[in-house]
Subunit: 249 residues, 2 copies
Protein backbone atom coordinates (compact mmCIF):
# COMPACT_ATOMS: atom_id res chain seq x y z
CA UNK A 1 0.00 0.00 0.00
CA UNK A 2 1.45 3.34 -1.07
CA UNK A 3 0.96 6.77 0.46
CA UNK A 4 -1.55 9.24 -0.99
CA UNK A 5 -0.28 10.44 -4.31
CA UNK A 6 -0.52 14.20 -4.15
CA UNK A 7 2.08 14.96 -6.69
CA UNK A 8 0.81 12.70 -9.39
CA UNK A 9 2.32 13.19 -12.78
CA UNK A 10 -0.86 11.96 -14.40
CA UNK A 11 -2.41 14.46 -16.67
CA UNK A 12 -5.27 13.79 -19.03
CA UNK A 13 -6.24 16.03 -21.90
CA UNK A 14 -9.95 16.75 -21.53
CA UNK A 15 -10.41 15.83 -25.17
CA UNK A 16 -9.34 12.24 -24.54
CA UNK A 17 -10.86 11.92 -21.07
CA UNK A 18 -12.93 8.72 -20.70
CA UNK A 19 -15.68 10.51 -18.74
CA UNK A 20 -15.83 13.54 -20.99
CA UNK A 21 -19.39 12.71 -22.10
CA UNK A 22 -21.00 12.21 -18.72
CA UNK A 23 -19.20 14.27 -16.07
CA UNK A 24 -19.90 17.80 -14.79
CA UNK A 25 -17.90 19.14 -17.68
CA UNK A 26 -19.88 17.36 -20.37
CA UNK A 27 -21.56 20.54 -21.61
CA UNK A 28 -18.48 22.71 -21.58
CA UNK A 29 -17.10 24.24 -24.73
CA UNK A 30 -13.39 24.52 -25.51
CA UNK A 31 -12.84 27.78 -23.66
CA UNK A 32 -14.67 26.57 -20.59
CA UNK A 33 -12.61 23.41 -20.57
CA UNK A 34 -9.53 25.53 -20.62
CA UNK A 35 -10.71 27.38 -17.53
CA UNK A 36 -11.36 24.08 -15.81
CA UNK A 37 -7.98 22.85 -16.86
CA UNK A 38 -6.32 25.63 -14.91
CA UNK A 39 -7.83 24.54 -11.61
CA UNK A 40 -7.76 20.80 -12.11
CA UNK A 41 -5.29 18.21 -10.95
CA UNK A 42 -5.33 14.44 -10.63
CA UNK A 43 -5.09 12.25 -7.57
CA UNK A 44 -4.82 8.51 -7.27
CA UNK A 45 -6.10 6.44 -4.38
CA UNK A 46 -5.41 2.79 -3.66
CA UNK A 47 -8.19 0.30 -3.04
CA UNK A 48 -9.29 0.52 0.57
CA UNK A 49 -7.80 3.95 1.10
CA UNK A 50 -9.85 6.75 2.57
CA UNK A 51 -10.39 9.76 0.34
CA UNK A 52 -11.96 11.96 2.99
CA UNK A 53 -13.44 11.37 6.44
CA UNK A 54 -16.80 12.65 7.61
CA UNK A 55 -16.26 16.02 9.26
CA UNK A 56 -13.09 16.80 7.33
CA UNK A 57 -12.69 20.19 5.77
CA UNK A 58 -12.06 19.54 2.11
CA UNK A 59 -10.73 22.07 -0.33
CA UNK A 60 -11.57 20.25 -3.49
CA UNK A 61 -14.46 18.74 -5.40
CA UNK A 62 -14.10 16.50 -8.39
CA UNK A 63 -15.07 13.59 -10.59
CA UNK A 64 -14.28 9.92 -10.38
CA UNK A 65 -12.39 9.13 -13.58
CA UNK A 66 -11.74 5.43 -13.10
CA UNK A 67 -12.54 2.99 -10.31
CA UNK A 68 -15.25 2.82 -7.69
CA UNK A 69 -15.59 4.83 -4.50
CA UNK A 70 -18.25 4.77 -1.81
CA UNK A 71 -19.95 7.31 0.40
CA UNK A 72 -20.77 5.95 3.84
CA UNK A 73 -21.96 7.07 7.22
CA UNK A 74 -20.96 5.40 10.46
CA UNK A 75 -23.11 5.58 13.59
CA UNK A 76 -21.32 6.06 16.88
CA UNK A 77 -21.67 2.43 17.87
CA UNK A 78 -20.11 1.34 14.60
CA UNK A 79 -23.14 0.48 12.52
CA UNK A 80 -22.33 1.52 8.98
CA UNK A 81 -24.48 2.38 5.98
CA UNK A 82 -23.28 3.17 2.53
CA UNK A 83 -25.26 6.11 1.15
CA UNK A 84 -23.72 6.48 -2.27
CA UNK A 85 -21.79 4.50 -4.81
CA UNK A 86 -19.48 6.60 -6.93
CA UNK A 87 -18.71 5.24 -10.37
CA UNK A 88 -16.71 6.86 -13.15
CA UNK A 89 -18.09 10.33 -14.05
CA UNK A 90 -19.85 10.73 -10.68
CA UNK A 91 -19.23 13.94 -8.83
CA UNK A 92 -17.69 14.11 -5.36
CA UNK A 93 -18.21 16.93 -2.91
CA UNK A 94 -20.75 19.61 -2.33
CA UNK A 95 -20.14 23.14 -3.51
CA UNK A 96 -21.03 25.59 -0.78
CA UNK A 97 -20.22 23.36 2.14
CA UNK A 98 -16.98 23.32 4.07
CA UNK A 99 -17.11 19.93 5.72
CA UNK A 100 -18.08 16.59 4.30
CA UNK A 101 -20.82 14.66 6.00
CA UNK A 102 -19.69 11.25 4.84
CA UNK A 103 -16.68 9.04 4.66
CA UNK A 104 -15.51 8.72 1.07
CA UNK A 105 -13.50 5.56 0.48
CA UNK A 106 -11.86 4.08 -2.58
CA UNK A 107 -13.23 0.54 -2.94
CA UNK A 108 -11.01 -0.13 -5.93
CA UNK A 109 -8.04 1.87 -7.15
CA UNK A 110 -9.44 5.27 -8.01
CA UNK A 111 -8.31 8.11 -10.19
CA UNK A 112 -9.96 11.43 -9.45
CA UNK A 113 -10.03 14.64 -11.40
CA UNK A 114 -10.05 17.28 -8.66
CA UNK A 115 -10.91 20.95 -8.86
CA UNK A 116 -9.83 23.39 -6.20
CA UNK A 117 -13.02 24.32 -4.47
CA UNK A 118 -12.97 28.10 -4.29
CA UNK A 119 -12.18 28.63 -7.98
CA UNK A 120 -14.67 25.94 -8.93
CA UNK A 121 -17.42 27.69 -7.04
CA UNK A 122 -16.55 30.95 -8.69
CA UNK A 123 -16.57 29.29 -12.07
CA UNK A 124 -19.94 27.71 -11.36
CA UNK A 125 -21.48 31.09 -10.67
CA UNK A 126 -20.51 32.32 -14.11
CA UNK A 127 -20.80 29.14 -16.18
CA UNK A 128 -24.35 27.87 -16.62
CA UNK A 129 -23.16 24.82 -18.55
CA UNK A 130 -21.48 23.59 -15.38
CA UNK A 131 -24.16 24.46 -12.85
CA UNK A 132 -26.94 23.13 -15.08
CA UNK A 133 -25.13 19.87 -15.58
CA UNK A 134 -24.52 19.61 -11.85
CA UNK A 135 -28.22 20.15 -11.18
CA UNK A 136 -29.08 17.40 -13.61
CA UNK A 137 -26.58 15.02 -12.06
CA UNK A 138 -27.82 15.84 -8.57
CA UNK A 139 -31.40 15.14 -9.60
CA UNK A 140 -30.28 11.79 -11.00
CA UNK A 141 -28.50 10.98 -7.77
CA UNK A 142 -31.61 11.89 -5.84
CA UNK A 143 -33.62 9.46 -7.95
CA UNK A 144 -31.03 6.78 -7.33
CA UNK A 145 -31.12 7.50 -3.60
CA UNK A 146 -34.88 7.11 -3.61
CA UNK A 147 -34.77 3.82 -5.43
CA UNK A 148 -32.25 2.74 -2.86
CA UNK A 149 -34.61 3.77 -0.06
CA UNK A 150 -37.21 1.39 -1.44
CA UNK A 151 -34.59 -1.33 -1.45
CA UNK A 152 -33.52 -0.63 2.13
CA UNK A 153 -37.00 -0.21 3.53
CA UNK A 154 -38.98 -2.89 1.76
CA UNK A 155 -36.95 -5.51 -0.05
CA UNK A 156 -35.98 -8.92 1.27
CA UNK A 157 -32.34 -9.95 1.54
CA UNK A 158 -32.50 -11.93 -1.68
CA UNK A 159 -34.18 -9.08 -3.56
CA UNK A 160 -31.52 -6.70 -2.29
CA UNK A 161 -28.71 -8.89 -3.59
CA UNK A 162 -30.40 -9.36 -6.94
CA UNK A 163 -30.99 -5.62 -7.25
CA UNK A 164 -27.34 -4.88 -6.55
CA UNK A 165 -26.23 -7.38 -9.17
CA UNK A 166 -28.58 -5.78 -11.67
CA UNK A 167 -27.07 -2.37 -10.99
CA UNK A 168 -23.59 -3.64 -11.71
CA UNK A 169 -24.75 -5.65 -14.71
CA UNK A 170 -26.36 -2.52 -16.18
CA UNK A 171 -23.30 -0.41 -15.56
CA UNK A 172 -20.88 -2.93 -16.95
CA UNK A 173 -22.92 -3.93 -19.96
CA UNK A 174 -23.18 -0.22 -20.69
CA UNK A 175 -19.44 0.10 -21.03
CA UNK A 176 -18.52 -3.26 -22.49
CA UNK A 177 -20.80 -5.88 -24.02
CA UNK A 178 -23.72 -4.62 -26.17
CA UNK A 179 -26.30 -5.42 -23.48
CA UNK A 180 -27.96 -8.77 -22.80
CA UNK A 181 -26.32 -10.78 -25.56
CA UNK A 182 -26.63 -14.11 -23.80
CA UNK A 183 -24.86 -14.21 -20.46
CA UNK A 184 -23.34 -11.26 -18.69
CA UNK A 185 -20.11 -11.38 -16.73
CA UNK A 186 -19.50 -8.85 -14.01
CA UNK A 187 -16.55 -8.23 -11.72
CA UNK A 188 -17.90 -7.22 -8.35
CA UNK A 189 -15.92 -4.23 -7.19
CA UNK A 190 -17.14 -4.74 -3.60
CA UNK A 191 -16.23 -7.12 -0.80
CA UNK A 192 -19.06 -8.98 0.91
CA UNK A 193 -18.78 -6.55 3.76
CA UNK A 194 -19.09 -3.54 1.47
CA UNK A 195 -22.10 -5.16 -0.17
CA UNK A 196 -23.60 -5.60 3.30
CA UNK A 197 -22.94 -1.93 4.09
CA UNK A 198 -24.64 -1.02 0.87
CA UNK A 199 -27.68 -3.21 1.39
CA UNK A 200 -28.34 -2.80 5.09
CA UNK A 201 -27.48 -6.43 5.80
CA UNK A 202 -24.72 -8.36 7.55
CA UNK A 203 -21.94 -9.91 5.52
CA UNK A 204 -23.09 -13.37 6.55
CA UNK A 205 -26.53 -12.78 5.10
CA UNK A 206 -24.96 -11.48 1.89
CA UNK A 207 -22.87 -14.61 1.63
CA UNK A 208 -25.82 -16.91 2.28
CA UNK A 209 -28.02 -15.20 -0.31
CA UNK A 210 -25.25 -15.29 -2.88
CA UNK A 211 -24.99 -19.02 -2.25
CA UNK A 212 -28.76 -19.36 -2.54
CA UNK A 213 -28.77 -17.57 -5.91
CA UNK A 214 -25.93 -19.81 -7.00
CA UNK A 215 -27.78 -22.95 -5.93
CA UNK A 216 -30.88 -22.01 -7.93
CA UNK A 217 -28.73 -21.28 -10.97
CA UNK A 218 -29.56 -17.58 -11.22
CA UNK A 219 -25.88 -16.78 -10.97
CA UNK A 220 -22.63 -18.69 -11.40
CA UNK A 221 -19.60 -17.76 -9.34
CA UNK A 222 -16.08 -17.82 -10.73
CA UNK A 223 -13.92 -17.21 -7.71
CA UNK A 224 -15.37 -14.81 -5.17
CA UNK A 225 -15.70 -11.70 -7.22
CA UNK A 226 -16.62 -12.72 -10.71
CA UNK A 227 -20.30 -13.34 -11.30
CA UNK A 228 -21.83 -14.83 -14.41
CA UNK A 229 -25.47 -14.11 -15.13
CA UNK A 230 -26.71 -16.73 -17.60
CA UNK A 231 -30.20 -15.26 -17.85
CA UNK A 232 -30.64 -11.61 -17.07
CA UNK A 233 -34.43 -11.81 -17.14
CA UNK A 234 -34.39 -14.43 -14.42
CA UNK A 235 -32.22 -12.21 -12.25
CA UNK A 236 -34.63 -9.33 -12.84
CA UNK A 237 -37.46 -11.48 -11.52
CA UNK A 238 -35.59 -11.88 -8.26
CA UNK A 239 -35.36 -8.13 -7.65
CA UNK A 240 -39.04 -7.65 -6.81
CA UNK A 241 -39.21 -4.68 -9.19
CA UNK A 242 -41.91 -4.48 -11.77
CA UNK A 243 -41.00 -5.90 -15.10
CA UNK A 244 -40.66 -2.79 -17.26
CA UNK A 245 -37.74 -1.48 -15.28
CA UNK A 246 -39.24 2.00 -15.12
CA UNK A 247 -37.82 3.56 -18.25
CA UNK A 248 -38.77 7.20 -17.95
CA UNK A 249 -37.65 10.52 -19.28
Amino acid sequence: MTAPDFTSTVHIQCGTCPIRQRAVCSRCDASELEELDQIKYYRKFDAGQSIVWAGDCVDFVGSVVTGVASLAQTMEDGRRQMVGLLLPSDFVGRPGRKQTRYDVTATTDVLMCCFRKAPFEKLMATTPSVSQRLLEMTLDELDAAREWMVLLGRKTAKEKIASLLVIFARRSSQSTVPAYAGSIIIDLPLTREAMADYLGLTLETVSRQMSALKKTGVIVLQGKRQVIIPDFEQLLLETGDDSDGGMLD
Copy 2:
Protein backbone atom coordinates in the same frame (compact mmCIF):
# COMPACT_ATOMS: atom_id res chain seq x y z
CA MET B 1 -64.27 15.20 0.41
CA THR B 2 -64.40 17.71 -2.42
CA ALA B 3 -63.22 17.39 -6.01
CA PRO B 4 -59.83 18.72 -7.12
CA ASP B 5 -59.98 22.48 -7.08
CA PHE B 6 -58.60 23.54 -10.43
CA THR B 7 -60.24 26.90 -10.60
CA SER B 8 -59.21 28.12 -7.21
CA THR B 9 -59.74 31.78 -6.58
CA VAL B 10 -56.83 31.77 -4.16
CA HIS B 11 -54.15 34.15 -5.12
CA ILE B 12 -51.22 35.13 -2.95
CA GLN B 13 -49.02 38.11 -3.53
CA CYS B 14 -45.43 36.87 -3.55
CA GLY B 15 -44.55 39.64 -1.14
CA THR B 16 -46.79 38.18 1.55
CA CYS B 17 -46.19 34.52 0.73
CA PRO B 18 -45.35 32.46 3.83
CA ILE B 19 -42.67 30.47 2.01
CA ARG B 20 -41.09 33.44 0.29
CA GLN B 21 -37.83 33.05 2.22
CA ARG B 22 -37.22 29.38 1.59
CA ALA B 23 -38.78 28.29 -1.70
CA VAL B 24 -37.27 28.15 -5.22
CA CYS B 25 -38.13 31.80 -5.62
CA SER B 26 -36.27 32.95 -2.52
CA ARG B 27 -33.49 34.61 -4.47
CA CYS B 28 -35.66 36.29 -7.07
CA ASP B 29 -35.83 40.05 -7.38
CA ALA B 30 -39.01 41.99 -8.08
CA SER B 31 -38.88 41.63 -11.85
CA GLU B 32 -38.18 37.91 -11.67
CA LEU B 33 -41.10 37.47 -9.30
CA GLU B 34 -43.27 39.21 -11.81
CA GLU B 35 -42.23 36.73 -14.47
CA LEU B 36 -43.02 33.87 -12.14
CA ASP B 37 -46.32 35.44 -11.29
CA GLN B 38 -47.37 35.18 -14.91
CA ILE B 39 -47.00 31.43 -14.99
CA LYS B 40 -48.14 30.61 -11.50
CA TYR B 41 -51.48 29.45 -10.20
CA TYR B 42 -52.69 27.86 -7.00
CA ARG B 43 -54.22 24.48 -6.37
CA LYS B 44 -55.71 23.00 -3.24
CA PHE B 45 -55.79 19.34 -2.33
CA ASP B 46 -57.71 17.67 0.47
CA ALA B 47 -56.04 15.40 2.98
CA GLY B 48 -55.69 11.92 1.50
CA GLN B 49 -56.11 13.10 -2.05
CA SER B 50 -53.62 12.12 -4.71
CA ILE B 51 -51.73 14.97 -6.34
CA VAL B 52 -50.13 12.86 -9.07
CA TRP B 53 -49.65 9.15 -9.67
CA ALA B 54 -46.38 7.51 -10.59
CA GLY B 55 -46.16 7.36 -14.38
CA ASP B 56 -48.46 10.31 -14.93
CA CYS B 57 -47.46 12.99 -17.35
CA VAL B 58 -47.48 16.21 -15.40
CA ASP B 59 -47.42 19.65 -16.92
CA PHE B 60 -46.55 21.58 -13.79
CA VAL B 61 -43.96 21.84 -11.07
CA GLY B 62 -44.37 23.86 -7.92
CA SER B 63 -43.94 24.50 -4.23
CA VAL B 64 -45.87 23.30 -1.23
CA VAL B 65 -47.22 26.45 0.40
CA THR B 66 -49.07 24.96 3.34
CA GLY B 67 -49.67 21.40 4.53
CA VAL B 68 -47.73 18.18 4.15
CA ALA B 69 -47.45 15.91 1.11
CA SER B 70 -45.56 12.70 0.59
CA LEU B 71 -43.64 11.06 -2.23
CA ALA B 72 -44.00 7.30 -2.27
CA GLN B 73 -43.24 4.33 -4.43
CA THR B 74 -45.34 1.19 -4.51
CA MET B 75 -43.94 -2.21 -5.52
CA GLU B 76 -46.12 -4.39 -7.68
CA ASP B 77 -47.12 -6.63 -4.78
CA GLY B 78 -48.25 -3.62 -2.78
CA ARG B 79 -45.25 -2.99 -0.55
CA ARG B 80 -44.97 0.73 -0.17
CA GLN B 81 -42.11 3.02 0.77
CA MET B 82 -42.27 6.74 1.26
CA VAL B 83 -39.24 8.35 -0.37
CA GLY B 84 -39.86 11.99 0.40
CA LEU B 85 -41.74 14.16 2.80
CA LEU B 86 -42.80 17.47 1.36
CA LEU B 87 -43.23 20.30 3.83
CA PRO B 88 -44.00 23.96 3.13
CA SER B 89 -41.46 25.49 0.71
CA ASP B 90 -40.38 22.10 -0.68
CA PHE B 91 -40.35 21.75 -4.44
CA VAL B 92 -42.45 19.22 -6.33
CA GLY B 93 -41.59 17.84 -9.73
CA ARG B 94 -38.49 17.46 -11.81
CA PRO B 95 -37.71 19.90 -14.60
CA GLY B 96 -36.69 18.05 -17.73
CA ARG B 97 -38.73 14.94 -17.13
CA LYS B 98 -42.14 14.24 -18.57
CA GLN B 99 -43.43 11.56 -16.23
CA THR B 100 -43.28 11.37 -12.45
CA ARG B 101 -41.68 8.36 -10.87
CA TYR B 102 -43.55 8.59 -7.60
CA ASP B 103 -47.01 8.92 -6.19
CA VAL B 104 -47.45 12.35 -4.66
CA THR B 105 -50.19 12.42 -2.04
CA ALA B 106 -51.53 15.14 0.21
CA THR B 107 -51.31 13.82 3.76
CA THR B 108 -52.97 16.92 5.16
CA ASP B 109 -54.83 19.63 3.28
CA VAL B 110 -52.30 21.11 0.91
CA LEU B 111 -52.02 24.38 -0.95
CA MET B 112 -49.60 24.34 -3.85
CA CYS B 113 -48.11 27.15 -5.86
CA CYS B 114 -47.84 25.62 -9.34
CA PHE B 115 -45.85 26.78 -12.34
CA ARG B 116 -46.64 25.60 -15.82
CA LYS B 117 -43.73 23.41 -16.71
CA ALA B 118 -42.64 24.56 -20.15
CA PRO B 119 -42.46 28.25 -19.24
CA PHE B 120 -40.80 27.40 -15.95
CA GLU B 121 -38.08 25.47 -17.72
CA LYS B 122 -37.53 28.32 -20.11
CA LEU B 123 -37.34 30.74 -17.22
CA MET B 124 -34.85 28.51 -15.41
CA ALA B 125 -32.51 28.58 -18.37
CA THR B 126 -32.31 32.35 -18.23
CA THR B 127 -32.60 33.01 -14.51
CA PRO B 128 -29.62 31.84 -12.46
CA SER B 129 -31.28 32.88 -9.21
CA VAL B 130 -33.88 30.17 -9.78
CA SER B 131 -31.65 27.39 -11.05
CA GLN B 132 -29.03 28.04 -8.39
CA ARG B 133 -31.61 27.95 -5.65
CA LEU B 134 -33.03 24.74 -7.10
CA LEU B 135 -29.59 23.16 -7.09
CA GLU B 136 -29.14 24.10 -3.47
CA MET B 137 -32.52 22.68 -2.52
CA THR B 138 -31.83 19.49 -4.44
CA LEU B 139 -28.51 19.03 -2.65
CA ASP B 140 -30.31 19.50 0.67
CA GLU B 141 -32.87 16.91 -0.33
CA LEU B 142 -30.10 14.53 -1.29
CA ASP B 143 -28.57 14.95 2.15
CA ALA B 144 -31.94 14.30 3.73
CA ALA B 145 -32.40 11.20 1.57
CA ARG B 146 -29.02 9.90 2.69
CA GLU B 147 -29.78 10.42 6.34
CA TRP B 148 -32.97 8.55 5.70
CA MET B 149 -31.03 5.69 4.11
CA VAL B 150 -29.08 5.28 7.34
CA LEU B 151 -32.35 5.18 9.21
CA LEU B 152 -33.86 2.58 6.88
CA GLY B 153 -30.79 0.40 6.65
CA ARG B 154 -29.41 0.42 10.14
CA LYS B 155 -31.74 1.77 12.80
CA THR B 156 -33.97 -0.28 15.08
CA ALA B 157 -37.71 0.25 15.15
CA LYS B 158 -37.53 2.39 18.28
CA GLU B 159 -34.71 4.51 16.86
CA LYS B 160 -36.70 5.02 13.68
CA ILE B 161 -39.72 6.30 15.58
CA ALA B 162 -37.60 8.58 17.74
CA SER B 163 -35.84 9.95 14.65
CA LEU B 164 -39.14 10.73 12.98
CA LEU B 165 -40.41 12.55 16.05
CA VAL B 166 -37.21 14.58 16.14
CA ILE B 167 -37.69 15.61 12.53
CA PHE B 168 -41.17 16.90 13.23
CA ALA B 169 -40.09 18.51 16.49
CA ARG B 170 -37.33 20.38 14.66
CA ARG B 171 -39.64 21.51 11.90
CA SER B 172 -42.40 22.64 14.21
CA SER B 173 -40.19 24.33 16.78
CA GLN B 174 -38.66 26.19 13.85
CA SER B 175 -41.95 27.76 12.94
CA THR B 176 -43.58 28.16 16.35
CA VAL B 177 -41.98 27.91 19.77
CA PRO B 178 -38.46 29.36 20.22
CA ALA B 179 -36.87 25.90 20.33
CA TYR B 180 -36.50 23.63 23.32
CA ALA B 181 -38.04 25.93 25.92
CA GLY B 182 -39.15 23.11 28.19
CA SER B 183 -41.48 20.65 26.52
CA ILE B 184 -42.32 20.56 22.85
CA ILE B 185 -45.76 19.78 21.48
CA ILE B 186 -46.12 18.44 17.98
CA ASP B 187 -49.12 17.53 15.89
CA LEU B 188 -48.25 14.46 13.87
CA PRO B 189 -49.42 15.06 10.33
CA LEU B 190 -49.19 11.34 9.56
CA THR B 191 -51.36 8.33 10.31
CA ARG B 192 -49.65 5.31 11.85
CA GLU B 193 -49.73 3.69 8.44
CA ALA B 194 -48.03 6.66 6.79
CA MET B 195 -45.41 6.62 9.52
CA ALA B 196 -44.85 2.93 8.78
CA ASP B 197 -44.49 3.70 5.06
CA TYR B 198 -41.96 6.34 5.93
CA LEU B 199 -39.93 4.19 8.29
CA GLY B 200 -39.95 0.84 6.53
CA LEU B 201 -42.03 -0.77 9.29
CA THR B 202 -45.54 -2.13 9.70
CA LEU B 203 -48.20 -0.02 11.33
CA GLU B 204 -48.39 -2.48 14.22
CA THR B 205 -44.71 -2.02 15.00
CA VAL B 206 -45.14 1.74 14.85
CA SER B 207 -47.99 1.55 17.31
CA ARG B 208 -46.07 -0.73 19.67
CA GLN B 209 -42.98 1.46 19.69
CA MET B 210 -45.05 4.59 20.25
CA SER B 211 -46.56 2.81 23.25
CA ALA B 212 -43.11 1.79 24.45
CA LEU B 213 -41.83 5.37 24.27
CA LYS B 214 -44.94 6.47 26.14
CA LYS B 215 -44.43 3.87 28.85
CA THR B 216 -40.84 5.00 29.46
CA GLY B 217 -41.99 8.61 29.65
CA VAL B 218 -40.02 9.83 26.64
CA ILE B 219 -43.25 11.05 25.07
CA VAL B 220 -46.78 11.77 26.29
CA LEU B 221 -49.71 11.21 23.98
CA GLN B 222 -52.73 13.51 23.89
CA GLY B 223 -55.17 11.73 21.68
CA LYS B 224 -53.62 9.81 18.79
CA ARG B 225 -51.92 12.60 16.94
CA GLN B 226 -50.67 15.07 19.47
CA VAL B 227 -47.31 14.24 21.01
CA ILE B 228 -45.70 16.02 23.95
CA ILE B 229 -41.95 15.77 24.35
CA PRO B 230 -41.09 16.68 27.95
CA ASP B 231 -37.35 16.32 27.45
CA PHE B 232 -35.97 16.73 23.96
CA GLU B 233 -32.49 15.54 24.95
CA GLN B 234 -33.91 12.25 26.14
CA LEU B 235 -35.69 11.77 22.83
CA LEU B 236 -32.44 12.51 21.01
CA LEU B 237 -30.75 9.73 22.95
CA GLU B 238 -33.30 7.28 21.57
CA THR B 239 -32.47 8.10 17.94
CA GLY B 240 -29.07 6.37 17.93
CA ASP B 241 -27.51 9.45 16.30
CA ASP B 242 -24.41 10.97 17.77
CA SER B 243 -25.01 13.73 20.23
CA ASP B 244 -23.90 16.81 18.30
CA GLY B 245 -26.65 16.45 15.72
CA GLY B 246 -24.18 17.00 12.91
CA MET B 247 -24.36 20.76 12.50
CA LEU B 248 -22.41 21.42 9.34
CA ASP B 249 -22.16 24.08 6.75
